[in-house]
Amino acid sequence: MTLLEAILLTVITASTPLVIAAIGELVVERAGVVNLGVEGMMIMGAACGFAAAIMTGSTFIGVLAGVGAGVAMSLIFALLALGLAANQIASGLALTIFGLGLSGLVGASFIGAKREAMPKLDVPVLTDLPFVGPVVFGQDPFVYISVLLVVSVWWFLTRTRAGLVLRACGENHTSAHALGYRVLRIRLFAVMFGGGCAGLAGAYLSLAYTPFWSPGMTAGRGWIALAIVVFASWLPWRLLMGAYLFGGITILQLHAQGMGVRIPSQLLSALPYLVTIVALVVISRRRSGWNAAPGALGKPFSRDY
């Protein structure tokens, strides 16, 4: 395995949780809701996923539990922000703080437990191909799921009627409501999808990426996913690119350090953020102007309007 191949492999695994969490939040925001609770839902996914996997011995059930935990957390948010039309920013922040605390409680008895990492795909012949083999055919299942998710979300938003309705709710919920669409129900489904994705990303962290549980192990990845959605101007392909760019620079700067490149490590550590922001800002400026945010983003909807 060459160094380049190894770097590519690592970049893909490092970017995958960001892709999964961000694509979920993209759908939520396209429906007009800002859920800042990604970090909290993600870490609950990590805790519950790991706990379930340890108790049942099955990684698959662990993944399901992670997704379930994310959805359950998102329902709390939905109750506050959709049901009671509370401020979405405050509700989302509360969800993050709540999730960080609750996950510590859920995971308390699983500290120090260990599991083998999830096995990687091994297709006879294909995985052994030079270069493309391990990179394209030798990843863990999450990586394929993440790409599949991005493709499906893109297809759903741009090629289906339901996607059009969801976007309508995000652009102008009053009009969507006037046309007879159930704004709150559609937003509820979007929020649940976002929660499921965040939970899945969390389960990826505790089951495949670093297979153990530790409080605070998401270490801010939920916030990065949120930022990527904004800087990708709410477009799935751009989001995929932004996440891989972020992951790529993160890994490359580690390699640069290992090779003794004489640049302050603090600057190298800041590079992923800088490069991702600059790249995505430049792109969104050239293509679609600045006003790419869904029109009704963050505005609570209630039927009394």
Binding site: I7, G104, K114, T210, S214, P215, Q257, P264, S265
Partner: protein, 360 residues
């Protein structure tokens, strides 16, 4: 029955007086309240976990004489607030358990003269600030020796947290140990700018292993790098606690911290009124830390490592004996000399042969 306003005020005054009397009466027999401020979660299975085990040991030994309050995952810039709050709640002894807290501890201590602070690592004491630390570099020296025996690529990978002297002298000492076996040993260092970030620590380990390092040293707190070493079939060392079970094929040894006995001693000193600012820096001989049983090593390798650990513990071997030459070629100390503790604690350079960029 009705109360007028005057009665209410009178009543409140009496109640307040009674309450004040009550607290002062209780204070005589009240347990000593001891606060612990951790930089990471108690479940990091590393640095903060071991401080918390020390706290539990304190409770176990002292029983009803103490009452402890742990506060976990405190950011360095939030430390002063947490410490002030603990002091206001009546904590008379507060352990601030990270070098990241040291500056904040020195700032907050003069404002709380009734409270005794104990900073785990630091560079100076104050009338109510003590320092305590273990000479973990002795463990690093042993790691270097073992790494030189185990490495085929002759390259050690080091996952570093922050460019503070504690980390820099540890990197130097690992190489001192490695060179004592094989002068051709090399090191690659990656700074992750965190004490605890499992994902990034694992990424750093991946990068180092991909670059050919086959023994991984970590100066961060999670078992992620060691676990990754296990997955990739290279060797590694555990940090702060015995991490054998995370990496049955990769684990060589771990430095296992033991703060409990020190905590008991200091709490007793406060209760007896004999607390004085001190500066404890104990090595392998002091019991502040020990090496976990050697694993994945031949009996010869293990007995060599054991002998070196004993020599370090008894003081026969000192990793800071001269000659020491900095990376830029200037001599720090000649043959026959030895660095003082202050020089070790303020080390901000790498030795010649440690080809690593010093961050900003």
């Amino acid at each position: 029955m009705s109360f007028n306003r005057r009665d209410l005020i009178k009543g409140a005054g009496v109640a307040a007086g009674a309450a004040a009397l009550g607290t002062s009466a209780v204070a005589q027999a009240a347990p000593l309240q001891v606060g612990f401020i951790y930089v990471g979660p108690v479940g990091d299975f590393g640095w903060s976990t071991m401080h918390d085990i020390g706290r539990k040991r304190l409770e176990e030994v002292m029983g009803a004489q103490v009452k402890t309050t742990p506060v976990e995952s405190v950011a360095a810039n939030d430390m002063e607030r947490v410490a002030t709050q603990l002091a206001r709640q009546g904590h008379r002894l507060i352990f601030t358990t990270s070098f990241s807290f040291f500056q904040a501890t020195m700032r907050v201590a003069p404002t709380l003269p009734q409270t005794f602070f104990e900073s785990a690592t630091g560079t100076a004491t104050a009338p109510n600030v003590s320092l305590y630390n273990a000479r973990f570099y002795e463990g690093r020296y042993v790691q270097g020796v073992i790494a030189a025996r185990k490495s085929k690529s002759k390259t050690i990978g080091y996952i570093a947290s922050f460019p503070v002297p504690e980390v820099m002298h540890a990197i130097n000492t690992v190489m001192r140990g490695a060179w004592s076996v094989d002068p051709s040993m090399k090191i690659r260092v990656v700074w992750v700018n965190a004490w605890f970030n499992p994902g990034r620590e694992a990424d750093a380990a991946r990068a180092l292993i991909d670059q050919g390092c086959d023994v991984i040293c970590q100066h961060t707190d999670s078992p992620a790098p060691l676990q990754l070493a296990n997955e990739r079939g290279v060797f590694g060392f555990g940090q702060a606690s015995d991490m054998t079970k995370f990496a049955p094929r990769a684990h060589l040894t771990s430095s296992v911290n033991n703060w409990g006995d020190y905590y008991v001693e200091r709490a007793r000193a406060v209760i007896n009124g004999t607390w004085k600012p001190g500066d404890v820096w104990g090595g392998l001989g002091s019991g502040l830390f020990r090496l976990a049983p050697f694993t994945n090593m031949t009996p010869e390798e293990a007995s060599e490592a054991q002998k070196i650990a004993e020599a370090l513990g008894s003081g026969k071997l000192n990793p800071f004996d001269g000659p020491i030459v900095r990376a830029d070629g200037t001599e720090v100390i000649g043959a026959g000399g030895r660095l003082t503790d202050d020089q070790i604690r303020s080390m901000n350079y790498f030795y010649r042969g440690v080809d690593v960029a010093v961050p900003g």
